[in-house]
């Protein structure tokens, strides 16, 4: 068990491309930290540098207070779970799990005892004599985990360990991983591109983009107080709605109507170099059917009317897609997020607005509906650099704050 510290860690390749840039990260002993971001953001490279499978170009990596930049993987005492599981096909499950212990030259009895214990934890006992080829995907995944936990390393590194499983099994294994980590209390660094995994698993989440850390914090904090447009768009499903907004006479012109501004935001916008065009961000759950909102709440928000395009009833609530007119919000971050979602060249209809309304709402497809949204929960972003303008001392305060 140990803490892991990345001190201005960078990775660049001989051809000059920079994969990871000045990553500063302190992972406490026993902490579960998730590295998340779109593909190519440098999260796997960062993990491989911690593992010792890739060189660190500059900066320092310390495990348990000791500089390990130049140590071979085997001298770092950390275990890794691979996306492909990387089980040795010529060995049985037992031999696979015993492999690291045999390399550590433990005696036979200890090895057997440890393997049996790990197998019990992961419910692998009946499979111990099988070869990996005769296992299902979920079983292989568990063997890979077993091989990691069996030697009680200082830390676990997991490289998208669940992404080869089907959706149902993935949810199941998520809880297994989570429980196991809590039980063992071993420092864990977990790489994923799936924001749901990031939200549900980690103590803290590190969002990366283009080799640089965007924001670090507990999942809920990232969700509620995104530092920039990228974080806001990456975290959350369905993702935040982004709309074009123009600043005029102390208020904002948007497709949802005139948004009044509080003193604090207005002061910020009065600065000489302040942008005249903004991006308005509203999460789907901050909308509500106007009929279902009481007077008190109504005052804290704004109402608008728009035609209903599609209604998806989830039982507990409804996802309602509205068509709103107006310019589309555009920024480099949004394009990147769309490309990562695989929708880069498929807009799927202009100004669609995703809302999550109460199940009681009697919305009907094709008709217009009055909708309310919470002004205290909206975010305003500067499209040129993605900065969240509603953020004050790390907390998002909405549009109305004084």
């Amino acid at each position: 068990m140990a803490d892991i510290v990345l001190d201005k860690v960078s990775k660049s390749f001989p051809d000059g491309t920079v994969a990871v840039q000045d990553v500063d990260l302190e992972i406490a002993d026993g902490e579960f930290v998730i590295l998340v971001g779109p593909s190519g953001c440098g999260k796997s490279t960062t993990l491989n540098m911690i593992a010792g499978l890739e060189d660190i170009t500059s900066g320092e990596l310390r495990i348990a207070g000791q500089r390990v930049n130049d140590k071979a993987p085997r001298d770092r005492d950390i275990a890794m779970v691979f996306q492909s599981y990387a089980l040795y096909p010529n060995m049985t499950v037992r031999e696979n799990m015993a492999f690291p212990l045999r390399l550590a030259k433990l005696d036979k009895e200890t090895i057997n005892a440890k393997v049996d214990e790990a197998a019990k934890v992961l419910e692998l006992v009946p499979l111990l004599d099988r070869k990996p080829a005769n296992l299902s995907g979920g079983q292989r995944q568990r063997v890979a985990m077993g091989r990691a936990i069996v030697r009680q390393p200082k830390a676990f590194l997991m490289d998208e360990p669940l992404s080869n499983l089907d959706a149902k099994l993935r949810v199941q294994m998520r809880t297994v991983v989570s429980r196991l980590q809590k039980q063992l209390g071993t420092t864990t660094v977990y790489v994923t591109h799936d924001q749901t995994e990031a939200m549900t698993l980690g103590d803290r989440v590190v969002i990366m983009r283009g080799g640089a850390v965007q924001q670090v914090g507990p999942p809920q904090e990232l969700y509620d107080h995104p530092r920039n447009l990228f974080v806001a768009g990456f975290i959350g499903s369905p993702s935040m709605n982004f709309l074009h907004a123009a600043v005029q006479d102390g208020s904002l012109h948007t497709a949802l109507g005139e948004v009044p501004l509080g003193d604090r935001v207005r002061r910020e916008l009065e600065a000489a170099d302040a942008p005249r065009e903004l991006i308005l961000g509203v999460r789907p759950e901050h909308f509500e059917d106007a009929e279902l909102v009481d007077e008190d709440t109504r005052r804290r928000g704004l109402e608008f009317e728009a035609p209903v395009e599609i209604v998806e009833s989830m039982g507990s609530d409804k996802y309602v897609y509205f068509t709103v007119e107006g310019e589309r919000a555009s920024a480099a971050e949004l394009e990147e997020l769309a490309a990562d979602a695989g929708a880069g060249d498929f807009a799927g209809g202009g100004g669609n607005l995703v809302t999550r309304l109460s199940a009681e709402s009697p919305v009907v497809e094709g008709q217009s509906r009055r909708v309310w949204f919470n002004l205290e929960k909206i975010h305003l972003f500067d499209p040129t650099n993605g900065r969240n303008l509603t953020l004050h001392e790390g907390r998002a305060a909405g549009a109305l704050a004084d």
Partner: protein
């Protein structure tokens, strides 16, 4: 209806299969048949022997000329195979796993050698080997065999090595293995089938050679069976050598048939993977 068409399709394929098998087997059966014929019936022109005899085999195993050639063939092919596979495996491992300048050059050179006209080497090697005093010796044949087997070995083995999942080596390192341990405990067991297949292909290549065998040898000291066969003709003036030649031919064909029978799948995969993925 469906059953009928599949039966007919099966019949049609079966017929084609038989055609292929006959096409492939007839020359082999013919020489085997000749080797079992008695001198009296040798020239009857019949495909199958009317009288069977093992005399031809007795004759060849009684002559030093053949036994010596057989030992040469086996020894030279084995040594050349061993060296070519070891050197080829080292190079193929580097080509498929490591990043270093000059890799493309090595691949290019071995491709060139695979296409090299061997006869162009006969005259200089003849002269060089005489000067080095290795003409008409085992090393004199082993050296060119290794050279021409290396491209085959490198191609086949790199194709095999590329199929080994790269993550396994990383996983072994994470599990505490040194580079050497990762190779010995994880990669080598996975590479063994590929090594074995390559060894068979290289052995067949060396076993098969004729041009070097008759050009770079002059006596029984290092003459291999294919070369010796062509000199049987004048071995005994009073006897027709046909039966003996056929018996010798059958003897050196047996190992090939056994390889093909037992390792058909491996040989096919070795030849095809090296060819396409190269």
């Amino acid at each position: 209806m469906a059953v009928e068409t599949t039966t007919r399709a099966k019949l049609r394929w079966g017929l084609l299969d038989v055609l292929v098998i006959v096409f492939a087997m007839v020359p082999v059966l013919w020489i085997a048949s000749l080797s079992f014929k008695t001198p009296a019936t040798l020239t009857d022109g019949k495909f199958f022997p009317r009288e069977w005899t093992l005399d031809n085999y007795k004759t060849i195993f009684d002559t030093d000329q053949f036994v010596r050639a057989l030992i040469n063939s086996i020894g030279i092919a084995l040594v050349a195979t061993l060296v070519a596979v070891v050197l080829g495996a080292m190079a193929a491992y580097a080509i498929s796993r490591l990043d270093f300048p000059g890799k493309g050059l090595l691949v290019g050179v071995s491709l060139l050698i695979a296409m090299f006209p061997q006869v162009s080497l006969v005259s200089p090697l003849f002269e060089i080997e005489r000067q080095l005093k290795i003409f008409d010796t085992w090393p004199g044949l082993i050296l060119p065999y290794i050279t021409f087997a290396l491209p085959l070995a490198i191609y086949t083995l790199s194709a095999f090595f590329k199929q080994i999942p790269w993550d396994l080596e990383k996983a072994a390192k994470m599990d505490g293995a040194t580079q050497a341990q990762a190779f010995r405990r994880v990669i080598a067991p996975l590479a063994a089938p590929g090594l074995f297949t390559t060894a068979i292909l290289v052995f067949i290549f060396c076993w098969n050679d004729f041009l070097f065998a008759i050009s770079l040898t002059s006596t029984e000291r290092s003459r291999t069976v294919p070369a010796a066969l062509s000199f049987f003709t004048g071995a005994s003036q009073f006897e027709d050598p046909t039966g003996a030649i056929c018996a010798a031919a059958v003897v050196i064909t047996v190992p090939i048939i056994l390889f093909v029978l037992f390792f058909q799948r491996r040989i096919v995969s070795g030849l095809t993977s090296g060819a396409v993925k190269g």
